[in-house]
């Protein structure tokens, strides 16, 4: 044993343990996010049980089990529960009871002590609502304009309910389309008219011209107003139709509530579903998560605007960063005079990759938004002042800031690629009489394209996950519309966007009901992690294949 210690073997094992620990943590982290993230979409069973409250009264509870934990009995006693003195540890369950509009707390801890058997009543239903979160309860009857048309005992009750929910969802989509697209288009045009007029005023045109233009504007405005009236009438009619059906349901405490169908997003009976039905439900929810807009202060619904915002921002950033990064790298590697000055520049550029991202955010806010944006507004958008156009955080500045942030990544990667190209290839080209530019653009750069791609992908991966600078230069918790739409000029570079990373921060830490938002945050995090891991793996693959290629070329 002494010898074993003397040989240093324990140290080897400790070092090995460190690697193992790192790997366990890495896998554990990804696993944790994956399980929680994917688990979010699974329709959990609804349980009914009786639990003992703090004051000793028994309470009926209907809801989903979220998680459980074991705590020392002393902690629980401190918070006012009666626990038998010999008991040291207590298990407690967090139950999602929903019904936020009826009872204030939709999540509640219940002790195992005194808890009855769990039951999974087949009729228990979960209603995802547009407001107030989930509803848990039992159905009673379905009403049309206040008249009962089906009761829960009726055979066709459930088909009727689902059919009518389909109908109200369709109506809702139509209204949404009218409000977002049609009315949005009209408002956009009205706003443009206003700006045009203000622009004429600022240009100082004479009174006659202004009057003529005013007449024209008035005509256009009247036409738009007319269009608006039509759309509005249409919308009001749809709203009226939407109010037709209601569902009466019984809450676990015995009281009856009425839920209008227009408020229902989805109605399920998880306890009545088989595995395959649940899987279908799972996919449906997953798709909704990816393609829908957020509801309820971002804590429910989908994350489509955040995905769209992230992607748009990253694309704009790529358009900016690729040419500049590549040209800078070519300059540093091919044209600049190699010497101590260049070495300092190179080290500085490389080091900028390690500068805290928040510093870029500060720079972006001060220089891009306030200085450049403010000047742009003065020059080109005077008619909309004092409301800033580019003088406020927005998509373009966010992209530009991230482009600056990721420039070093692209430069480093491209330079590495350029330096890996065997000099024999270069010399061969020059020996055949090609000029330096020809050698560069026809021989060297094409060969280094994979390295540039690697750099770009790494840049995208970094940009997609970066949040701190974006909080300063253009990302908001809820953007009113997407940065790309059907209104001129189609891509709105001045618009604020939503972003996956910021969504995580905002929903997880700024929302009033963290417990309700938690699953969604995990799911969002999972989306982001997957995106970034895929991008990085792609970069690694490209880099490795590139290395192999030139290893054989240089041999």
């Amino acid at each position: 044993m002494k010898n074993w210690f003397k040989s240093g073997a324990p140290w080897v094992w400790l070092n090995g343990g460190a690697v193992a620990l790192c790997m366990v943590m890495v896998v554990g982290l990804i696993g944790l996010i994956a399980i929680r993230g994917f688990g979010h979409f699974w329709p959990a069973d609804v349980v009914q049980l009786t639990a003992v409250e703090r004051d000793g009264t028994e309470q009926q509870v209907l809801g989903e089990i979220v998680r459980s934990e074991v705590v020392p009995a002393a902690v629980v006693r401190d918070s006012g529960y009666e626990i038998a003195p010999e008991q040291e540890l207590v298990t407690r369950y967090l139950i999602k009871r929903g019904n936020r509009d009826i009872s204030a707390r939709d999540f509640n801890w219940y002790l195992e002590v005194g808890m009855s058997e769990w039951q999974n009543p087949i009729d228990a239903m979960v209603i995802e609502r547009r407001e107030w979160g989930n509803f848990y309860g039992y159905p009673v009857s379905l009403k049309e304009n206040g008249d009962v048309i089906a009761r829960v005992q009726d055979a066709d009750f459930w088909p009727q309910v689902q059919e009518r929910i389909e109908r109200s969802l369709d109506l809702h989509d139509e209204i949404n389309h009218l409000e977002k697209v049609e009315i949005g288009r009209i408002n956009h045009k009205l706003e443009r008219l206003r700006l045009e007029r203000r622009g004429l005023e600022l240009d100082g045109v004479d009174a006659a011209t202004l009057a003529a233009a005013d007449a024209e504007f008035a005509a256009e405005r009247a036409e738009l107003d007319e269009q608006y009236r039509v759309v509005k009438a249409e919308r009001d009619e749809l709203y009226r139709q939407l109010k037709r059906d209601t569902l009466t349901a019984e809450v676990i405490d015995g009281s009856e509530v009425t839920i209008t169908l227009q408020n229902i997003v989805r109605l399920t009976r998880p306890n009545a579903m088989g595995v395959f039905a649940k899987m279908g439900q799972y996919l449906e929810r997953f798709w909704e998560f990816l393609s829908d807009e957020p509801r309820e202060a971002n804590t429910e619904g989908g994350i489509f605007p955040a995905i769209f915002g992230t992607v748009t921002m990253v694309i704009v950033m790529s358009i900016i960063v690729t040419p500049f990064g590549v040209l800078a790298a070519i300059y540093l590697r091919e044209y600049a005079k190699q010497g101590p000055v260049l070495r300092i520049i190179r080290i500085s550029v490389y080091n900028l990759a390690g500068v805290p991202s928040i510093v870029y955010g500060v720079f972006g806010l001060g220089f891009f938004v306030y200085f450049l944006g403010g000047s742009l507004d003065e020059l080109f958008y005077r008619e909309s002042l004092p409301a800033p156009t580019f003088g406020t955080p927005g998509l373009f500045w966010a992209s530009l800031t991230l482009a600056l942030l990721t420039l070093p990544v692209v430069i480093v990667s491209t330079e590495e690629g350029l330096s890996r190209i065997p000099s024999t290839i270069r010399q061969g080209s020059l020996a055949l009489g090609a000029t330096k530019a020809e050698t560069l653009w026809k021989v060297v750069v094409p060969l280094a394209t994979p390295a540039m791609m690697t750099g770009l992908i790494l840049a995208i991966a970094r940009a997609a996950g970066e949040v701190a600078p974006l909080m300063l230069v253009g990302v908001v918790k809820l953007a009113p519309s997407l940065p790309i739409d059907g209104n001129y000029p189609y891509v709105h570079l001045d618009q604020k966007i939503m972003h996956l990373g910021f969504h995580i921060y905002d929903v997880g830490f700024q929302s009033p009901n963290v417990e309700a938002a938690r699953p969604l945050v995990y799911a969002t995090a999972l989306t982001l992690v997957l995106l970034i891991i895929v991008l990085n793996l792609a970069a690694i693959r490209i880099r490795n294949s590139l290395r192999e290629k030139y290893r054989s070329a240089s041999d």
């Binding site: 070092n15 620990l21 366990v24 020392p72 040291e88 500068v355 928040i358 510093v359 970094r462 690694i540």
Partner: protein, 761 residues
């Protein structure tokens, strides 16, 4: 070139002729040049843009260092009624257009600030036969001025500007209101002349002080009530006598604060006295302190009335605080001296919304000072005669100077950023309302007259604290892991382990932060004993498993050759971790009376749910890949012949590592640590989400912190552009940039040296 020569019919050559070739050469040369210049300019532009970050941040910070500038634009005589009419008090309004003088004869005269053209005159009412004997005023923002009369009465006036916008242009109409009614109030029932008066608006009404010509102090409190129906204002009040000054001293100046609890009196024996007047039935003289700087010749409360600026006949300017001592008694405390003016101080004019003040002296010198930052921003001669009155505008852009020659000078002022100085950023500062000098970061608050406390020390310490605990977690794991992966691990496993840990480097920190805040922090709070038991048992278990493995029969051991230790350890690690967590509640019951958190609190260690431990683990996790990856490279690239030589000489694997690998690779490992440190210092999201972001000054692992980067993220979006706070946040960014840049550059240089050394070996 790609141009193909067209096939030409006839006997001509397929090759281009000399002319074509020359043309082609020309275009090629042009293209070559174009490419050279294009690439060079783009490249330089990029390098320039990156360099711009430094310059821009610096240019935003630079105005903080600048002092104040004053330029006298115009001088005009102050004559509206008669030459002998002296101005006793001077005011300038917020649009810097209208000035006002309160004359000794009881007139308030408004004039155009730029040229002295009269606008309007108000006569302050007085009783028949009485004459004006003294004047006193409150903090400038209230616009209160009190006239004392020869018959012991007092008239309170309030300056008001009415704004209207006829024809879209701003019109300011000045007026004088009388908050206590149109009749003077009686302050001295014996009818003696009031030699000094002071006034202040309080939360409940108005506090006034009068000093009679026979040296008695009278303290009055008034409140007004408006009848809802008739709009008639009724005034009620009481006047109390204060004890006289000791040693027969005579009052020179008197001031009352906004809480109407403390009265500060300067006497003719170079002393300051403080009266406690909070209890109307028991008005007492609490303390008398010598100024130590000569006779007081001017004394004014700064905004908020938490501190006094005092000027003396020696030209000394100092700031005094009302400090609450342990017995809950307020005392006068000298907190700072400023640069003296050459002559005796004649007047002090506090700024409207900041802790700054302007001082004039007998020789026509002007001093601009700032309390919190102890800065003397300007000392300059602005007049040829002794200065009598100064009036700064509420936005600190213009100044009126009234001297003994009866001339009013109007001057433009640049004094944007007096609030910070090196000492206020990095040293302890004695703030108003605090009992001792402290490091505090509290840049803004809802209330007006708030003293912003901008010390970067709590933030810098917070940054170092977070980085320290992160490094504590990351260094052992990162370096040990790197050593093992590079030197002991089988190549096959290395090909799997290295990329997976490196992918972690790209993991968005917002995800780590969110897990730390929402999952890890509550988990740790409930499983505190597990943290400590894992810390103890995990290494123990690793060594024990290793020892057990060495005792296993040869047949089993050969199945997993050397280099697979890490894989063997995975299951024991999982088991140990699970066991520690499962046992955690039991341990709490057995050793810590049910709750370890409570146990800590009982021992006086405060515990926040989101604390440095959580940050240390989460940020350590983010830093491990950085350290791992660079250190692994350094170890892996140690030339093989060195290690093989060592092994051949009979050293064990570990002896080779300690004796050969570590000494050779240590600069690389050091640079890895520095890179990791650089990353930990600048990390924003993890700290933002995993701590409570309270700027505390301690190294308690169970309390949170606020770092420079998180502070920027929290406060910058809500800060007014170009304000001092805004620029201080830029300074914080510049500090971060400089710090990480230096650390990274050092690390990079060390790494390059190492590379050279390896290639020489």
């Amino acid at each position: 070139m790609s141009e193909t020569t067209p096939a030409v019919a006839g006997g001509e050559s397929l090759m281009p002729n000399a002319q074509q070739r020359a043309k082609l050469r020309n275009t090629r040369r042009l293209k070559d040049k174009f490419s050279r210049w294009g690439v060079a300019s783009a490249g330089l532009a990029v390098v320039g843009a990156l360099g711009l970050i430094f310059f821009y941040l610096f240019s935003e910070v630079a105005p903080l260092l600048k002092g104040a500038d004053v330029e006298v634009l115009e001088t005009y005589p102050h004559t509206q009624t008669s030459q002998s009419e002296r101005s006793e008090h001077l005011v300038l309004e917020r649009y810097e257009q209208i000035g006002a003088t309160y004359t000794a004869s009881g007139q308030v005269q408004f004039f155009v600030a730029d040229n002295g053209k009269p606008i309007s005159v108000f006569d302050v009412p007085k009783s028949d036969g009485a004459s004006f004997s003294s004047i006193g005023y409150g903090t400038p923002v209230d616009g209160l001025v009190a006239y004392g009369y020869s018959n012991g009465e007092l008239m309170l006036t309030q300056l008001n500007y009415r704004l209207s916008y006829p024809n879209d242009t701003r019109k300011i109409t000045p007026e004088i209101l009388y908050p206590l009614g149109d009749e003077p109030v009686v302050l001295d029932d014996q009818g003696h002349s009031l030699a000094h008066v002071a006034v202040q608006k309080t939360a409940r009404g108005y506090a006034v002080v009068g000093v009679t010509d026979d040296g008695r102090l009278r303290f009055g409190r008034y409140s007004t009530r408006e009848n809802m129906m008739t709009g008639k204002v009724t005034t009620s009040g009481r006047v109390d006598a204060l004890p006289a000054l000791p040693n027969g001293a005579k009052v020179r100046f008197v001031q009352v604060d906004k809480t109407a609890r403390h009265l500060v009196v300067a006497d003719d024996q170079a002393r300051l006295h403080i009266y406690d007047v909070s209890d109307a039935a028991n008005l007492t003289l609490t303390e008398s302190v010598p100024t130590g700087r000569g006779q007081v010749t001017a004394m004014q409360y700064l905004v908020g009335t938490g501190s006094l600026a005092v000027g003396t006949d020696t030209g000394a300017v100092s700031q005094w605080l009302l400090v609450r001592d342990p017995d809950n008694v307020f005392r006068l405390q000298l907190v700072r001296d400023f640069e003296s003016l050459p002559g005796a101080i004649t007047t002090i004019s506090p700024e409207y919304a900041r802790r700054g003040f302007l001082v004039g002296d007998e020789q026509g010198s002007l001093g601009i000072y700032y309390g919190t930052s102890s800065r003397t921003l300007l000392v300059a001669k602005v007049a040829d005669n002794p200065i009598e009155n100064l009036a700064i505008s509420p936005i600190n852009g213009k100044l009126l100077i009234y001297d003994t020659s009866g001339q009013i000078g109007v001057a433009s002022v640049w004094n944007e950023h007096p609030e910070v100085s090196f000492s206020s950023l990095w040293q302890k500062v004695w703030y108003e309302g605090r009992s001792e000098p402290e490091y505090v970061w509290q840049a803004s608050s809802g209330g007006d007259g708030f003293e912003s406390k901008m010390s970067l020390v709590p933030l810098s310490l917070g940054t170092l604290k977070a980085a320290f605990f992160a490094m504590l977690f990351a260094i052992p794991l990162g370096i040990a892991g790197a050593l093992y992966t590079a030197y002991f691990m089988t190549p096959k496993m290395r090909g799997l382990v290295k990329p997976s840990i490196e992918i972690m480097e790209a993991l968005p920190t917002v995800i780590l932060g969110f897990l730390a805040g929402l999952w890890l922090a509550p988990f740790l709070e409930n499983h505190l004993p597990a943290v400590f038991s894992i810390l103890i048992f995990m290494p123990l278990m690793m060594v024990m498993v290793g020892f057990g493995w060495s005792r296993l029969p040869q047949a089993i051991r050969t199945r997993a050759p050397e280099g697979w230790e890490a894989a063997i350890l995975i299951v024991p690690i999982l088991l140990t971790g699970w066991l520690c967590i499962e046992l955690s509640p039991h341990m709490e019951v057995w050793f810590f009376g049910g709750s370890m958190r409570q146990w800590f609190t009982d021992y006086g260690i405060s515990y926040d749910q989101r604390n440095a431990l959580v940050v240390g683990i989460a940020m350590g996790f983010a830093v491990i890949p950085t350290i791992f990856s660079i250190a692994e490279d350094a170890v892996f690239n140690v030339p093989r012949h060195l290690t093989q030589g060592s092994l051949a000489l009979g050293a064990t694997r570990w002896q080779t590592v300690v004796g050969v690998v570590l000494p050779t690779a240590s600069p690389g490992i050091f640079s890895a640590v520095m890179m990791g440190f650089g990353r930990a210092v600048g990390e924003t999201m993890i700290v933002l989400m995993a701590t409570g972001n309270s700027p505390v000054v301690n190294f308690n692992i169970f309390e949170g912190m606020r770092t420079l980067s998180a502070n920027i993220a929290v406060e910058l979006p809500e800060t007014a552009v170009a304000s001092t706070h805004f620029r201080v946040l830029f300074l914080a960014a510049l500090v971060l940039l400089a710090l990480t840049f230096i650390v990274n550059t050092c690390a990079e240089i060390i790494r390059q040296r190492l590379r050279k050394r390896y290639s020489n070996l």
